[in-house]
Subunit: 322 residues, 2 copies
């Protein structure tokens, strides 16, 4: 195997979750491909491309259900594949790969900032914003608006079962933003005083459905009922290319002990089951816009993002497969 | 003061919450009026009626924001007032009061059973039911259906911040009913597998809006979205007569430490406020039917219940006032 040791090291760290968080995983994977291209000892373009595909496959298999990780790989490898297919020589292909990896990392690092800028334009002075869970992209929008001098207030839902609302509330408060913290069930009660809803996404399907923390769909639904805009802040690598080919996103079921502590759960009657879905699906008709680092799009344009970013819509093989 | 000591004792117990729970408070108040009528030493009908009004006022003032308590008083005193106004003599009026109190107590005791019977007719074999919080009336519907041999399953939401879902889950499980326990945010995610929603009510307004545990309105909203029936199980003494005269129901704001424990809350930045509303308001258009002990009604018929039960709609003074 001619995969360089740096790739194996990064793959190991992604696997054992030393490297975590959608953005960091994606950038590390792109960087691993860059290192593979830089350090490869291959003597011809065919050998070089074969190594690249091996490296990409190893990285891909570390977290088979993630979205950001394969998307980073696709970003780089898709560009490599085009160059290779059009007859690039070794040094040309190496350059394409390195360049694509750097581009991905740069875009990804700038993405949160750009999402903040684009999203903040839609936040008005005096707005009351509701958010759910902890989303760096959503926070970037609110933080940017606040730094622009817009006097906002944020209603943060606690986000059972894992209380990510606490992290969000404290982070926003640390920037000076006034926060109102409520239980998830209070979303409709306070929607009347809400001007905008800003939430993140775990992934986005081809038709603009938003997979995000359980409870997101309920909030978007009542926002729609109130004619309050729901804005989803999401980097383009959250868009889920397999959904273009019909694949359903798997909704991760997590451990019941996140809902009821193990000691307590042991004492419960056997005919109570605790179900703990991590995500729900918000249909596109409840989403006003998706704020990406490329710009603001209607959810129905998710397909445009997917085609532009990944470009291998119709005849689908992963660029690291034959 | 010619109010008998038993009335004062019951009033004290309601005040200090030795007597608690909407049903029990209501029955105790009616019983106190019965005792007043039985033990009164009044020698003429005017004196007797004056004492009755004093007793009712004392009882009323123990918990000024409750709904069931004044409704019990009104049930008895309204009937007394009509008799008194039509020239009843002392013994006739005493009989009317005692009889009305017994009737109220009897109705109230039978109410849960009847709600169970009526509601269970709308539950079908194989139904998956979603419920929220802990409602004796809602449980009566599910328990009765189960005892009729209908194979049901109940999705119970945990009901933050006070976890009443745990009580409901365990109670249902103790009857043998299979329970699925989820966080409140999962209501929409599991609405697709739900056949009926059955919830209780804290109070019901003249136009059929349902005041109930925070989160009820979100569940009813998504049930509507899914064409799943929302059935509200509520004794008639939960109907809120003052709303006939325009009064808004006050939504009780409870202590933030129910949401975040005091020790933790102390460490939070000062620009995070925790808001803890106990109830929300579900508009009548999201409610399919209200199951009362008198029968099943559309929410828009709340006014009929109010007029029949309390009968003093348009020119309003409490029957214990002059
Ligand atoms: N597991 C899933 N994977 C991908 N898309 C989904 C999934 N579940 C629902 N959707 C999409 O989300 C929307 C369904 O929303 P809903 O009507 O709320 O079920 C539709 O656009 C579906 O295509
Ligand atoms: N505090 C309140 N007291 C009485 N009725 C209310 C209250 N709040 C809302 N409503 C009623 O509930 C419905 C409003 O539902 P919504 O559109 O959800 O606010 C209307 O029928 C109002 O008349």
């Amino acid at each position: 195997m001619a995969v360089v040791k740096e790739v194996l090291e990064i793959a190991e760290k992604i696997k054992n979750m030393e490297i975590r968080g959608a953005g960091k995983i994606a950038r590390s994977a792109a960087y691993a491909l860059q290192l593979q291209a830089e350090k490869s000892k291959a003597t011809n373009v065919d050998e070089f491309w074969k190594e690249m595909k091996q490296a990409a496959k190893i990285l891909f298999e570390t977290r088979p259900t993630a979205v950001s990780l394969p998307n980073a790989l696709r970003y780089v490898m898709h560009r490599g594949k085009i160059a290779y297919s059009s007859g690039a020589d070794l040094e040309q292909l190496r350059f394409v790969i390195i360049n694509a990896a750097k581009e991905f990392i740069h875009n990804s690092e700038k993405a949160l900032e750009r999402i903040g800028e684009f999203g903040a334009k839609r936040i008005e002075d005096g707005d009351v914003i509701m958010t759910h869970c902890h989303s760096k992209a959503a926070i970037s929008v609110m933080k940017t608006a606040w730094e622009q001098g817009k006097d906002i207030k944020v209603i943060v839902t606690e986000t059972r079962p894992k209380w990510q609302g606490k992290i969000t509330a404290k982070e926003l408060a640390s920037y000076g933003i006034p926060v109102i913290y409520v239980v998830d069930s209070a979303a409709r009660h306070y929607m009347k005083m809400t001007d905008k809803v800003v939430m993140g996404a775990d992934s986005i399907t081809v038709n603009g459905a938003v997979i995000n923390k359980i409870g997101t769909a309920l909030i978007a639904l009542t926002a729609k009922e109130h004619r309050v805009w729901t804005m989803i802040a999401a980097e383009t690598y959250k868009f889920h290319p397999e959904t273009m080919l019909g694949q359903l996103v798997e909704i991760e079921m997590r451990d019941p002990t996140e809902v009821i502590p193990e000691d307590e759960l042991k004492t419960w009657p056997k005919n109570i089951e605790v179900w703990n879905p991590a995500f729900d699906v918000t249909p596109p008709e409840y989403v006003d816009v998706i704020i990406t680092e490329r710009g603001i799009i209607p959810p129905y344009a998710a397909i445009d993002i997917l085609r532009e970013e990944f470009g291998w819509a119709l005849k689908y093989t992963e660029p690291w497969e034959d």
